[in-house]
Symmetry: none
DNA sequence: GTTGTTTTCGCGCTAGCA
DNA sequence: TGCTAGCGCGAAAACAAC
C-alpha cells in the first residue's frame, strides 16, 4: 500500500498546473509532509519510511501524495488534535483551505466526501469520538501504554531495592574477606603474649604482626590537642579534639594494606556461608589477588 | 455522523432477505456490535454512545449498520490487533467471510474496496503501520504519551537529586546549629584554665561545663580490651578493640543533650550565611525549642 | 523496455434521512 | 435540499512476465 504519486486525472479535469510547473509544486508541497518524510525533494516517487527489514528487491514505496485518504486523514488527525473539540465543517473547511492554497486542482466536494470516510474510520478505531456533531480527540486506545507505565515504574522501584541489597551484600562480603584475611595472617604470627591485648605494640621494636579487630583509626592534624576520658565500667570512651579529625574504619584500613582481596573464587566461597552463595554475583565479588583489571 | 440503518440498494440488487425477515437479522447481528452497543435489541435506530452531555432534544443517533466504513473499520482494527502482523488479503478475507456469513447481500468487491480506505486512514493516524505488505498494529498514536514518559522519568531523576541536596543541607544546618549552641554555652562558662584543653574533666568534681569540639564518642561493651597508640607527630591515633564498638559522632551527642534546636527562626537565620537563606525551606529547619509538634 | 496482471485507491454519483 | 455516506467504476501504481 502506501499511496502513490498523485494520479493523473482520467477525465479532463484541471491538471494543467501540475504538468506545467511540477517543480514549483514539488517544493511547495514539500513542507506539507510529516517530518519523517522531509528528506528529499519530491518528484514522483520516493522511499517511504522503512520501519524494519529494509532489504527488499522491490523498487520502493512512494510516499503519500497530496490527495487521497492518507493525506486527508493525517490532516484531519492533526486538526482534531489541535482543536480538542471540533465539527465536521470546521475540519473540512480547514483542510480545504489548506489544500487549495497550494493545490487548487482538488475539488472541495471531494475533500468533504473524504472527510466523512476518515472520520468514520477514526471513530471505529476509537481514537476520536463524535457526539451529535462534536468531534473530539481521544488518542491512544491505550490498551497497553497506561499499564506499561505503571509496571515500568514498579519495575524501577524494585530494581532500586535490588541494587540497594546488592550494595549491602557487597559491603558484607568486603568485611568478611578483610576479617578472614586478618585472621589468617594473625594465625601465621602467633601472639607473643597470648591472652592479653595490650602486647607491646607501642614499642617500635616490637616485631609482632598481629592486629586485633575491631579497631578504628583516627586521623587529625599535628598538634591537635586530644582529651580522653571513659566511664568506669568501660562502656563509653569520650575523646575531645580541638581540630577536625577523620575516622577511618577498620575495613578500609585492612583493604589499604592488602587484606581486601581473595586468592580465588574457591577461597571466597569457602568463607561465605553456603546459604548465601546464590547471592554472590560477579559484580559483588571482591577483586582477586594479582588480578589487574583495566577497562 | 454515525451511519444509519443499512440503506436499501438503489439498483435491483439483492434485498429480499432484509425485507422478509428483519427480526431474524436483527437478533443475529446483535452480537456483532461492540460491547458498548449491546444494550438493546437493534431495530432501525438506537441511542448512540453518549460520552458526555447526553441532554439533547434531538431524536437520536442511529448506531453503526453492518456495512460501511464504521463497521468495516472496527472489524479491521480487531483483526489487525489480534494478528500482530497481517496482510491486506488476510484482513479482507477474514472480514468477507465473517460478514457474508450473516449478511450475504454485501458484495466482496465492496468490502475489499472499503478495507483499502480504512487501512489508509489508520496508517495516516499512525495506529497501524504498513511495510511492503505487512500490516501491523501500533496502537498508541502517543504523540504526547511517549514524550511525557521521558520527561516524567527525567523529572523523577532531578527530583531525587533535589532531595539528596536537601538532605545535605539539612545535615549541614544541623551541624551548624549544634556547634553554634555549643559555642554559646561555652561562652557562658568561661574556661577555668584558658589556653589548655585538658582541663580537669576526668575529675568528677570538676564543674566546668565546657565541651571542646570536635569530638567522638565510642561505645563498647564492658570489659572490652582497648589498646591505643599514636604516631609521634600526633596525626594518627590507632585504637584496637577486641569486641565490637560503636562510634557516635559529636553532632548526635549534642542533639541528645539538647543542643540541636534553635530558639527562633530569627536565631537560625542569624547563624546561617545570608547567601544560603533561600535554600532553607520549612522542611529543612531544625526543631525550635519548646515547640511540641504532634501530628 | 513492453506488455499483461494485480493491487491500490481517486473520485463522485446518488441514496436515505431530516 | 443539505448532510451523511454506501458503493463501485476504472485508472494509476506495482508487480510479473517477456
Amino acid at each position: 500500500m502506501g499511496g502513490r504519486p498523485a494520479r493523473k486525472k482520467k477525465k479532463g479535469d484541471a491538471c494543467q498546473t501540475e504538468n506545467k510547473t511540477p517543480n514549483t509544486h514539488g517544493s511547495q508541497l514539500d513542507e506539507y509532509f510529516e517530518p519523517e518524510h522531509k528528506t528529499e525533494p519530491i518528484k514522483l516517487a520516493k522511499i517511504g519510511q522503512q520501519t524494519t527489514d529494509p532489504v527488499f528487491t522491490t523498487k520502493k514505496d512512494p510516499v503519500d501524495s497530496l490527495k487521497g485518504m492518507r493525506f486527508f486523514s493525517s490532516r484531519i488527525c492533526r486538526e482534531i488534535q489541535s482543536k480538542e473539540v471540533t465539527t465536521y465543517n470546521e475540519i473540512s473547511d480547514g483542510i480545504t483551505k489548506e489544500i487549495q492554497h497550494i493545490f487548487p486542482t482538488v475539488s472541495e466536494k471531494n475533500i468533504r466526501r473524504r472527510v466523512y470516510d476518515a472520520l468514520n474510520v477514526l471513530i471505529a478505531a476509537k481514537i476520536i469520538s463524535k457526539t451529535k456533531k462534536e468531534i473530539r480527540w481521544i488518542g491512544l486506545p491505550n490498551y497497553s501504554t497506561a499499564n506499561e507505565d505503571i509496571y515500568e515504574k514498579e519495575r524501577r522501584t524494585i530494581e532500586n531495592r535490588i541494587q540497594e541489597k546488592k550494595k549491602q551484600i557487597k559491603d558484607l562480603v568486603r568485611r568478611l574477606v578483610c576479617f578472614h584475611n586478618l585472621t589468617k595472617k594473625n594465625r601465621a604470627h602467633p601472639d607473643t603474649t597470648p591472652g592479653t591485648l595490650g602486647h607491646a605494640v607501642s614499642d617500635n621494636t616490637d616485631t609482632s604482626q598481629r592486629i586485633t579487630a575491631p579497631f578504628v583509626l583516627i586521623k587529625t592534624q599535628k598538634n591537635t590537642r586530644i582529651h580522653c576520658e571513659m566511664l568506669e565500667n568501660r562502656t563509653q570512651y569520650y575523646f575531645e579534639f580541638d581540630r577536625p579529625f577523620e575516622i577511618i574504619e577498620d575495613v578500609s584500613v585492612m583493604e589499604k594494606i592488602g587484606h581486601g582481596t581473595v586468592d580465588s573464587s574457591e577461597e571466597l566461597m569457602e568463607i561465605i556461608p553456603k546459604g548465601a552463595w546464590k547471592y554472590i554475583t560477579r559484580d559483588i565479588k571482591p577483586k582477586r589477588k594479582n588480578t589487574s583489571q583495566k577497562g
